[in-house]
Subunit: 355 residues, 2 copies
Amino acid sequence: MTFKKPNVLVIGSGGVGAIAALSLCLNDKSVVTLVVRSDYDYIKKNGFLIRSKTYGVIENWKPHNVAKSVTDARERFGEFDFIVVTTKNIPDGPVPCEDIIAPAITNNSTIILIQNGIGIEIPMLERFPKNPLLSAVSLIGSTYGDGVVENFFKDHIYLAPFANPNIENSLVDEKVRLFCEIYQNPDETKNKIEVDEEPQRRRWEKLVYNSVMNTTTALVNLDVNRCQMCNANDKLFRPAMVELREIAASEGFIIDEKFQEFFIHIGDGQFYAPSMCVDVRKSQLIEVEIILGNPLKIAEQNGVKTPILSTLYTMLKMLQLRMMEEKGLVKINPEDYNTNSDEYPKIVVEKSFRA
Amino acid sequence: MTFKKPNVLVIGSGGVGAIAALSLCLNDKSVVTLVVRSDYDYIKKNGFLIRSKTYGVIENWKPHNVAKSVTDARERFGEFDFIVVTTKNIPDGPVPCEDIIAPAITNNSTIILIQNGIGIEIPMLERFPKNPLLSAVSLIGSTYGDGVVENFFKDHIYLAPFANPNIENSLVDEKVRLFCEIYQNPDETKNKIEVDEEPQRRRWEKLVYNSVMNTTTALVNLDVNRCQMCNANDKLFRPAMVELREIAASEGFIIDEKFQEFFIHIGDGQFYAPSMCVDVRKSQLIEVEIILGNPLKIAEQNGVKTPILSTLYTMLKMLQLRMMEEKGLVKINPEDYNTNSDEYPKIVVEKSFRA
């Protein structure tokens, strides 16, 4: 019996998605289609320049197939066994991730989310209740811009099944096993994928950094070290991280203080701007709901007090509103908002269907 | 015996300073010199266009004397009986107010601060211990730009002596009386100056707005109403105002909740950007220390918890650092900050002596 290579669609061609496609292709156990949106013409012609700590420098690299949209991928490259989602996750934006991937979903698709944040699986499960859903946390350090991928650390993926009452566990476990097989390079110095027994714990741990340092630097448009010169460690980062750890603890995940101190000093001397800060510099929408909004809903349900994180969240919503209005995604008519009560009309985001 | 008209120097030719100079001149009981720095040549030639709710439209208006600096004023227009300070108060900036006014101070000078914030009198008293010091809160609504003063409300000044152990109370009280006399227009519909029996209370009351709505809008670069669409009233403004009122209460000033609600709805439907937000849009340094820094020192001394205001303060320091670096007032050498401890070198602001 011949092993038919699984057909994989990678959606999102940023630092994470490009390296995922590269890992799969080099491993040669699947057929890989990568959706490249804004730079489609350039990548189609020239491919990527990859500069990777573990894969080295690779010029003009292309996966098996390049598609310009999810619909284009589905039409030209068939049904997909795995749909790997590496886009930013912005449920308050014009196109939630469910809408992005919908055109590619068929009965046999397994969805794999390689994204940050808390609560990202729920909307997927609700929208696609009959498809196996896997959830992955990536530790990689990889950026993309103008055709160039800069990958600073070994791609390390923690993969886990997400509980779905409609599907047999054994089937989902088999999907996990299969994806690990097609993803894991035989030489483990190149990349590493492993099954995560406590995937939500890892999400909370990563959030200790993302919910505090990503958010603060995005709000003030300043790198981590410059923030730290303003006494941020004691006056903002640590107390905010304590709040985040208290939310995690209320969900049963005790996060040791050493994680906090590790993240506080992770960028010492590097004058590094986290991804959310970079997004704001480029006027790109930010992942405010999955990084802070969802954790704060949990905090409220569990009775955890979060004055600092709530302040950051409310200001990030303001920043997001400003960027959405600048992009024309939101129209504000002052007359609608001339009220002396606290009841304001709901902000309506223009939906754009970019599938 | 002839009443010799007092010689008055007004420093700062923004919305507050220009109207103060106008009030004094129209009242004709003093000789008024106004320091106009950046627009000196224009104002010297054309004067101001005043559009005032109470004084009406006045074209090409000039005070008795216009000086291009404090030193210029002192050299050309003699000794001053009153030195009225209406500049922004930025002790962390390149020129603290004491340095700005120093060239004009003589034995007989009475200093009058018409400025916002808490703790602004102390550095003045320390630097000029033998000069009477008056402290004033202004309610006016007045802006300046490109030769034009827009004054929306009646100029209302609350004036009070500031306790100085080196000077007889009766002497300072006499200065208060005299300044009220030369400032108060006979027609009280034009302006109003009165002695304030509880001046610090009024500073704290004004701070309910300034420490919360000025600061938040400055950080996110968004007007008050747009912030309120993001649920700011409940999630940020009110809880932050409660913290500010708790600091005031710890100093003996109980501020009624009605002030808070008044300020929450003061700009309904106006889509108004407070002055600190406007400053940031113009890349001008902000009054972060007197609006938040000093109140938070008091909170710490008095054991008042301020997680929200401390978060706003720390982020405003970051914003101020960014603007100072952009202006070349601060030089940051990454090698100095390559540390894995929490000890960072102190930020050194280049002093520029613009007296």
